[in-house]
């Protein structure tokens, strides 16, 4: 009798109890965003084949629509590519000349060589499922040597970085998420700044000295500060100056990418050796 009454009471209060538990979970997630990383990636790992299966028809549909719209534009695209190719041939000659000059100057100064980058190419399998979180899921994890913090590139430039890694899948925080902050360099002005997401299409350039003038069209590349990403990865260009604040449009549409490239962290033993020699100083 007593047990039955208790069960009745529990069933009456269970929605409120569950709502209370949800609030506690929410507060824990607000206080420590990384707290739930493990369970999140375990859930993603377990369900990534199902997510991929359900998403497959929509991926095919996207590709078909893209192909169909591409066919109508193919003539104009062909003319544009021919003109671009001609221009690129001229640029190629200039680039070869500059490379040779750069190499001889580096040899003269005995500069430590930059390690060669290697990439992991993988497919985007899912979206974030929320209007307020700008992330995507990719089909590569620790099994494929993906590590937290690696830069992720779209077809034209960087689109985000790895924030959670599972065994078979990983989560990418896109550069336009409000929590994304990346150290960058404004080419031309050669000024370091931080590129911050706004949850909108345009990103904002912050921590710029007030006397620095940034022009519309300036290229934004990674600075490599902090050693998290390699320097020189293209991100986008300044598209407008809004109330004195430069706004940046990314080269790659972060949601348009079907496939992405993950930049592996450099592991060149020769470079490590050179750095050790430098820090040890002359014998």
């Amino acid at each position: 009798m007593r047990a039955a009454t208790m069960a009745m009471r529990l069933s009456r209060y269970s929605p409120l109890a569950l709502t209370g538990i949800a609030v506690v979970l929410l507060l824990s997630s607000l206080i420590s965003p990384t707290l739930w990383g493990g369970p999140r990636m375990a859930a993603i790992d377990a369900l990534s084949p199902a997510i991929e299966f359900v998403g497959a028809p929509f991926r095919v549909m996207t590709e078909t629509i893209s192909d169909a719209s591409g066919l109508t534009k193919i003539r104009a695209e062909n003319a544009r590519l021919k003109a671009e190719n001609k221009q690129l041939h001229e640029w190629y000659q200039t680039a070869m000349l500059l490379r040779s000059e750069n190499q001889s100057l580096k040899d003269l100064l005995n500069v430590i060589p930059e390690p060669d980058q290697s990439y992991i190419t993988t497919r985007v399998i899912a979206d974030s499922g929320s209007s307020f979180v700008k992330t995507v899921l990719i089909e590569a994890g620790t099994d494929n040597a993906v590590e937290e913090g690696q830069a992720v590139l779209g077809s034209q430039g960087m689109i985000g970085r790895i924030i959670e890694v599972g065994q078979r899948a990983s989560r990418v925080l896109l550069l336009n998420d409000i929590n994304s902050h990346v150290p960058v360099v404004v080419e031309g002005a050669n000024q370091r700044a931080v590129l911050s997401g706004t949850n909108d299409d345009l990103l904002v350039l912050i921590h710029l000295p007030p006397d620095v003038m940034v022009e519309k069209g300036s290229r934004i590349i990674t600075s490599g500060s902090g050693g998290m990403f390699p320097n020189g990865l293209p991100i986008g260009e300044v598209s407008e100056i809004k109330n004195g604040v430069p706004m940046v449009m990314m080269y790659s549409d972060p949601y348009g990418a079907g496939y992405v490239q993950i930049v592996e962290k450099p592991q060149d033993p020769n470079v490590r050796h050179s750095i050790k020699t430098l820090t040890a100083g002359p014998e």
Partner: protein
Amino acid sequence: MSRHHFFGLHTLKLFGLYIILFILILLNLVKFPLLGSDGGKLSFLLIGIYFWTVYRPTLLPYPVIFATGLLLDLLSGGLVGLNAFCFMVVAMIVRGQRRFLLGQSWSVIWAGFCVAVTLVMGLQYTVYTLDALSVLPLKPLAFNLVISYLLYPLILPPMILLNRLLSD
């Protein structure tokens, strides 16, 4: 024998309901064509929760609603507990208004869903704005709200069919 048969069939139908809910969770994560960068973050799961709370609340107990919300939170990469909290609030309100809703026309029930989805997205917008300490853009929110309103009649047929099967 017939009781076993009935039990088996009923379990199968129940299984169908939970399969639909699971597919709706996964559809929440799928990237849809033609919706652009801000689209596709639709309230598929909320449609299922709203519909079954109105028509079959006994088949969708609160712990199941909580669990589906929590699973969506874990898969979406957002704040853990937020969807679970929003879905619990919606389920409690809808259960309170269930008798009124059951006597209404289809369009009134649809309007009820529009209120529910606006409430959920409004709550989420407020929490994420407070978390970021910055006012988030309203354009994606408005776009996803409108698409979600229009989505309800499209997702309805398989659920109405299952509801009829459950009544048999």
